[in-house]
Symmetry: C2
Subunit: 500 residues, 2 copies
């Protein structure tokens, strides 16, 4: 697959002596293996989960302690060197793509669970801890950590914080922002800040939400306190088949509209059902136009009542078949196909492009139908498997990167799909972040005064613009270049705004 050239000249204005940088980094890292400058070894960091974007950094550092992170950032601040922090590198929006003039700061050695306090229901973990490992550590106490991105076996809590990760259960239990209580942040000048609190309404400006989802552009998180929830007393998983995409979409809106918030409410279209069934043999109804997987959780009485209510609703929206898992094994089978859907699609196409848009639930059927028409127009298959309950679509566009022009056509189709999301009142990013992938689209998303306020906030944390430059919030030069902002006679609309 061909890789993109993505950084603009404007993103690459850093001048410093590379040998000096490497020498000084070496002085502050106790472990000689914590500093990587060898090109072959650096290849491990040149891309993240969005493999279409590749870039080698100048060096990679793997600090072991907070003090080392402080020392690294102080050096970078002094020499004006870009810093891209990286967790497990599973970002789907190139959020951890290295900067060509910068260092890659891996948090992989920050992999300890520091404390699980069952009474306060709080776990304190380092950012390199895997998402699933938190729930595993909490399980002996009957507790778990709610956000569960598809990559939860691999992705790190630090990366989850950077991208405000969601998952199947975020419909009921919220995104990362709703499940993190406090972070310890090292600022670019090496100060350590505690941001957030275990208390419900801590004094001071609430900066936690600004940090979460900021894609490493405001500081480097070195510790995270997360909320643990009690395991639901009981769970029930249902699978319903619908004869049309419309019926499935309307059932989703109907369930939520009736006041039920399921633990998870996922939708798969026929292409996804078939791909998953071929791969894991979950026993899915392969002739259904669409299936819904609905997980209800709570007390026995609550779940039984909701289960009856949801069944009745699904019937009223035309479900041709409703299955209710009677054993944990059956429940697991219902989920197996959904969880294996992405790799299953990987088996039927050389490449696929995973998108991430949100739409108001009531427009689900319209959008799915129009996406089908776009798929036919471009001659590219689109597979849909997504978080229907919160209107978070993940269309997978199937293509072959070795066929000349197919990646470009895929990206064009992707652009049309995202325009469709915006047209019905949605957004172009659900839970995967902006990173480098969607940076140009952000020029249209924000008004100039909004961008100006973002820059002001950025400067409040990172006055020299060294943290993950070029990501998440577009510079005015980028917006001028990509034509999304109105430029008069070659001049930028805000010549007085400082740039990054």
């Amino acid at each position: 697959m061909s890789a993109h050239s993505v950084y603009l000249e404007d993103d690459c204005r850093f001048e410093y002596n590379r040998e000096d940088l490497v020498a000084r980094l070496g002085q502050v890292l106790a472990n000689p293996e914590a500093l990587i400058t060898n090109e072959e070894a650096l290849r491990a960091y040149e891309t993240d989960g969005l493999a279409a974007y590749r870039q080698l950094p100048v060096a990679a550092v793997l600090p072991d302690t907070v003090e080392e992170v402080q020392a690294i950032l102080r050096i970078c601040n002094e020499l004006e060197v870009p810093v891209v922090a990286r967790g497990a590198g599973t970002s789907l929006s190139a959020g951890a793509l290295p900067h060509p003039q910068g260092i890659l700061l891996s948090l992989s050695r920050f992999n300890r669970i520091l404390d699980v306090d069952a009474e306060r229901r709080v776990a304190r973990v380092q950012p390199g801890v895997r998402n699933l490992a938190v729930s595993e550590a909490a399980a002996p106490y009957g507790l778990y950590y709610a956000p569960d991105p598809s990559s939860q076996i691999a992705c790190s809590i630090g990366g989850n914080v950077a991208e405000n990760a969601g998952g199947v259960h975020c419909l009921k239990y919220g995104l990362t922002i709703h499940n993190v209580l406090e972070v310890t942040l090292v600022t670019i000048d090496g100060e350590v800040l505690k941001i957030g609190s275990e208390a419900p309404d801590a004094p001071g400006y609430d900066m936690l939400a600004a940090i979460i989802g900021s894609e490493g552009m405001l500081g480097v998180v070195v510790e995270v306190a997360v909320k643990l929830l009690p395991e639901p007393l009981t769970k029930k998983v249902m699978l319903a088949a619908f004869p049309t995409v419309e019926a499935g979409g309307e059932a989703v809106a109907g369930i939520i509209g009736d006041g039920i918030i399921p633990g998870g409410l996922e939708m798969m279209d026929n292409a996804a059902i078939r791909a998953a069934e071929d791969f894991v043999h979950a026993g899915y109804p392969v002739d259904a136009a669409t299936i819904l997987i609905c997980e209800l959780d709570g007390s026995e009485a609550e779940v039984a009542a909701q289960c009856a209510q949801v069944s009745k609703l699904m019937e009223s929206y035309g479900a041709t078949e409703i299955r209710i898992a009677e054993t944990p094994e059956q429940a697991q089978a219902f989920w197996a196909g959904r969880k294996a859907a992405f790799p299953a699609v990987g088996r039927i196409s050389p490449d696929y492009y995973c998108m991430d848009g949100t739409i108001p639930r009531k427009h689900l059927s319209t959008v799915l139908n129009r996406m089908q028409a776009l798929s036919e127009e471009y001659g590219l298959r689109v597979v849909n498997v997504f978080h229907a309950g919160d209107g978070n679509l993940h269309p997978l566009v199937l293509y072959d990167g070795n066929v000349p022009g197919e990646l470009e056509r895929t990206e064009e189709l992707g652009g049309r799909i995202l325009e469709l999301c915006v047209e019905v009142g949605g957004t172009v990013t659900g839970e995967h972040g902006v990173g480098m992938e969607k940076i140009n689209q952000m020029c249209a998303q924000f008004s100039p005064p909004e961008l100006e306020q973002f820059f002001a906030l950025k400067r409040a944390f990172d006055p020299k613009g060294l943290l993950n430059p070029g990501k998440a919030i577009p510079t005015l030069n980028r917006c001028a270049e990509f034509g999304a902002m109105h430029v008069h006679k070659g001049e930028l609309p805000f010549p007085d705004i400082e740039r990054f």
Copy 2:
């Protein structure tokens, strides 16, 4: 009652021509009654819900439109005039106390409900709309707005946003921050920003949380989009009496520890029970050391199951009596005493000082007992009626402002109570904000780099420090003066930090 002199010289460094200011304000306000400079009329604004603090502003303005707010802020920005925004003026921490050199910006004419969208479950309202009016407007659709501060008949949504207000139901349904989707903010330089989104994870830095609870120090909110929730299918209210304060406190920790999140879980001590009973004759057990009022909501089945579980728990913690409301009238009676508790206390004492601390639930009984000892030590009665479920205490210290020295002794006792909260791992502010009341205590709450980061954030929104100066986040001069920060040889610890 004697009023405090609270602004420091450092807060009052503004120099401008008052006549020029008034003339220019007059030019931008269409309605001549929208500009108040007459001292008698200004008295209406000299204090808020914390009457111990009084200050007349230079002028008050009551704009009718967003354009007028923009024009007012542009004038204040140009002339460098402090601006204190005010909703209904019910703040209990003097958050809306006028600045002696500033204007008071009343949002009382921004009192329209712009839209109630039942399908999207969103209401768009102006900031001067009363909290309860939102639920009233949503009621025909079976929806309501969850945060319900005690002052909900009077307090405004704009004030709720400024203080991140809570209420009885915030245990289950969250604070204002969890129920606001988007705000429209006018910046000090007159720009209009949309901050937040109806989408689950909007792109860009998440600045909404920083705005909510920022006490009008980052901008002026002129529109708020709030989340509406479906009315619970059913509700059950229970009242349980306990023979000791310990037993009640332990029952609270036990209920939450057992995985139940009630819609509300309130506690009243004997003094509060008696005061309320004398006032509204709710039929409370006046010999109980403490009562718990527990509201359970959800589906029929869920509520019935939880009700049985809570009853059993309360019995196991020694409840001497458990009543379950069988009719809406009974439920209302259980709540009547709690809701009337503050005015009831007002009947038995010339003055009272309402405090607002949080503690970990497990320390409830310890703190209540030690508070009793402190009350005896100071010879001042302390009445407790509070949000037990989330550990948010509201001790009411009873005093007589006409007895020389009694206010001072009350404040000293208040300080000791807050120290006690901090000692057990709590905070000195729960849901009433910092305002002017707790500003000095904030010097101890934050580390110098944390304060520095707050100042940087403040500058990103308000470079000249004009919005509500002197509140919420203490200046370094204030901290030096009040001794909470270490000062060497008369120098501030951070001479290089810009000041407000």
